[in-house]
């Protein structure tokens, strides 16, 4: 199967998945007990007014009509209005994306920067103290709930030693960068870095542990393969083999797993944002759920679902380029 056709097939599947996500969410909203009108106006408002609101929102229509309307609106990018704030949901989602993206990327960078060297050391010095250290670290890392880790970091580094702030995001990265590029003032960038350090470590630890594990076992697997033994026999220095061939082949499963773990990353972001008052999508989702603000809940989750599908198609595409055999399957 050609690459283009492969991509087309995955995209069609992706659209199907997104439709499924939307439908599930619509179903959940429909079965939620309680009167949504209560969430919009003061409970003291009279029946007549409530009835009119119900009509305005289309809540008096049969369920399939509501579903059709909802799909139609989604197709043109209309996510509706928040019950709580009356603002357009699309805006409320988009304005929170940068904060979450910053956090996710920072966490991934933390994870890669720590995990790959650690995994390489661990994989090449099997059963030495360094390996035990790295293995224990990754075991603890995948077993620690990140909200607790975040709180412990706050306890130690913010409350006790006052090195880092307890949370909040005083400046957005793109604004800080713009200030720097236009005025050469680095203060905002430093502030941003200072505030994102703990959240990034908190969110990144699980992935650090996971990638350390994967790199280690990948290295061990690859070392056993004939091509390594052969190149060694040819007298190519060991370090070169390690970094060029083995590591490159180890990256393939790591990329796949990262794609699959995207859900975990997003779930982790929700919790991390809560711990650090980091104003991203996760914090907004928690607020929305607490208020049962369904248009906003739907908007956020649909957005997350679509991103997930797109990123996974991207991961599949990378995977297919690295490993063309999958195209035949």
């Amino acid at each position: 199967m050609a690459f283009g056709k492969f991509l087309l097939k995955r995209s069609l599947q992706g659209i199907l998945v997104v439709w499924g996500v939307v439908t599930v969410l619509f179903g959940l909203r429909a079965i939620t007990p309680g009167d949504p009108v209560n969430l919009i106006v003061d409970p003291a408002v009279d029946l007549e007014t409530r009835e009119r609101i119900r009509q305005e929102l289309g809540l008096d229509e049969p369920i399939y009509v509501q579903y059709g309307d909802y799909l139609g609106d989604l197709l043109v990018g209309d996510l509706g209005y928040s019950y709580q704030s009356s603002r357009p949901v699309a805006t409320m989602v988009i304005e929170r994306v940068p904060a979450t993206l910053e956090l996710a990327i920072a966490a991934t960078i933390v994870a890669l920067v720590i995990a790959i060297p650690l995994g390489v050391i661990s994989g090449t010095r099997r059963n030495e103290p360094a390996d035990y250290g790295a293995t224990s670290f990754s075991l603890v890392g995948i077993s620690t709930p990140n909200f607790w880790l975040g709180i412990m970091l706050i306890l130690l580094l913010a409350v006790e030693f006052n090195i880092f702030p307890t949370g909040r995001r005083p400046v957005a990265f793109h604004d800080a960068l713009w200030t720097f590029l236009t005025t050469f003032y680095v203060g905002d960038l430093l502030t941003w870095l200072h505030h994102i350090a703990l959240p990034a470590v908190t969110l990144g630890t699980y992935f650090t542990a996971l990638i350390t594990r994967l790199t280690r076992s990948g290295m061990l697997d690859e070392y056993g393969k004939p091509y390594v033994t052969a190149t060694e026999a040819k007298g190519i220095p060991e370090t070169l083999i390690r970094y060029k061939h083995v590591l490159r082949n180890t990256m393939i499963p790591i990329i796949t797993v990262l794609g699959l773990q995207l859900g975990t990353l997003i779930g982790g972001a929700v919790v991390t944002e809560t711990v650090f008052s980091w104003p991203g999508l996760g914090l907004r989702l928690i607020t929305a759920i607490n208020n049962l603000d369904w248009p906003l809940i739907q908007g956020i989750i649909v957005f997350v679902g679509i991103s997930y599908v797109i990123i996974n198609i991207g991961v599949d595409a990378i995977y297919a380029t690295l490993n063309p055999r999958v195209l035949d399957e």
């Binding site: 996500v21 909200f147 779930g267």
Partner: protein, 333 residues
């Protein structure tokens, strides 16, 4: 099912390695603590305390800083631990040690019951999908894809939002038998959360079961059984199901750990309905970090120990049985 070869593999791995032994010891200890919580607890975990100034006792061996008001002036004082309270008290004067024990109950109950629900939903789904293949498989896998497109925590939150955080009271046999006077007569199980963690994790079991079913469906003994006139249901139940159990057991072990993490995240975010939960306790303590470091710290240690020990046993099973599975893992779940 588990053959002799598999059993000897398991034994050999267990003997050779220190880690599964540690895992087994720690997990057994936690299980016993959870089971005998009413007997071991020194206080009723719900009993709140009375201090005029809202002071909490620190754990034994430590002191804490607090303040008292003398003539309208706030003065710093040092709070000594109380021998009554091994691990100190929390912000409303409840005994931290007793709550740790009861919290273990909640975590393990939700972990195992939630995983059980996921197995019951996921395994048949995966077996049918993999066994029949073709269009049925395609359709069912799209459903699985939809499930995977929801981050499990996010979907769990939405579901709790829909169903509310209902709890189920499970009568306590020890109290009923009169063995633990003064303890709560029932333990609240966060019902919605248990259901929801099952609903958001079944798809991993479906994937594993499907893989196994696909591998087995063309084996000789299956085709033989089919040619002898066995129905699909019989084949699925008699041949395919038993053969897929090994990877399911391994996955289930690992999933218990990630479900415990998921439960604690939901409790932390305030969605479990019960307060007897490690995650809830950690959240309570977050506001008190300045003075009462132990309120958040101690239950977190409980979670980490429980999850590590289960992961160690999971690793042992995986290394001995070597099924090819991918679970969701959990630290960030």
């Amino acid at each position: 099912m588990i053959s002799d070869r598999v059993a000897s593999n398991l034994k050999a791995e267990f003997r050779r390695n220190l880690l599964p032994k540690i895992g087994l010891v720690v997990l057994t200890a936690i299980l016993l603590m959870a089971l005998f919580a009413p007997v071991l607890a020194t206080h009723n975990p719900n009993t709140t305390g009375y201090f005029d100034d809202g002071t909490s006792y620190p754990p034994m061996g430590t002191t804490a800083e607090s303040y008292e008001v003398v003539d309208g002036e706030r003065q710093s004082i040092e709070v000594e631990p109380s021998s009554e309270h091994l691990l100190g008290t929390n912000n409303v004067g409840q005994d931290v040690f007793s709550r740790l024990l009861y919290g273990a109950r909640t975590s393990l109950l939700v972990g195992t019951l939630g995983t059980g629900i996921a197995v019951i939903m996921g395994v048949p789904f995966g077996l049918i999908s993999g066994y029949f293949g073709g269009r049925i498989d395609d359709a069912m896998m799209r459903v699985a894809d939809v499930m995977l497109a929801f981050p499990s925590l996010v979907l769990a939150l939405a579901l709790v939002g829909v169903f509310g955080s209902m709890t189920v009271s499970i009568p306590d046999p020890f109290v009923a038998a009169g063995l633990a006077e003064g303890m709560p007569s029932s333990t609240p199980l966060p019902g919605t959360v248990t259901l929801v963690v099952g609903l958001v994790t079944w798809v991993w079991f479906a994937r594993v079961a499907r893989g196994e079913a696909m591998a087995i469906r063309n084996e000789e003994y299956v085709t033989a059984a089919r040619s002898l006139g066995a129905s699909d249901a019989t084949i699925l139940f008699k041949h395919v199901l038993p053969n897929s159990l090994t990877p399911v057991i391994v996955l289930a072990t690992i999933q218990v750990a990630s479900v415990i993490l998921l439960e604690s995240s939901l409790s932390f975010l305030g969605f479990s309905g019960t307060t007897l939960s490690w995650g809830y306790e950690i959240q309570q303590g977050q506001e008190y970090l300045r003075q009462n470091w132990w309120i958040s710290t101690i239950p977190g240690v409980g979670i980490v120990l429980a999850v590590i020990s289960i992961n160690l046993l999971g690793d042992w099973l995986r290394d001995s049985l070597d099924p090819n599975i991918e679970g969701e893992g959990g630290g960030a779940a």
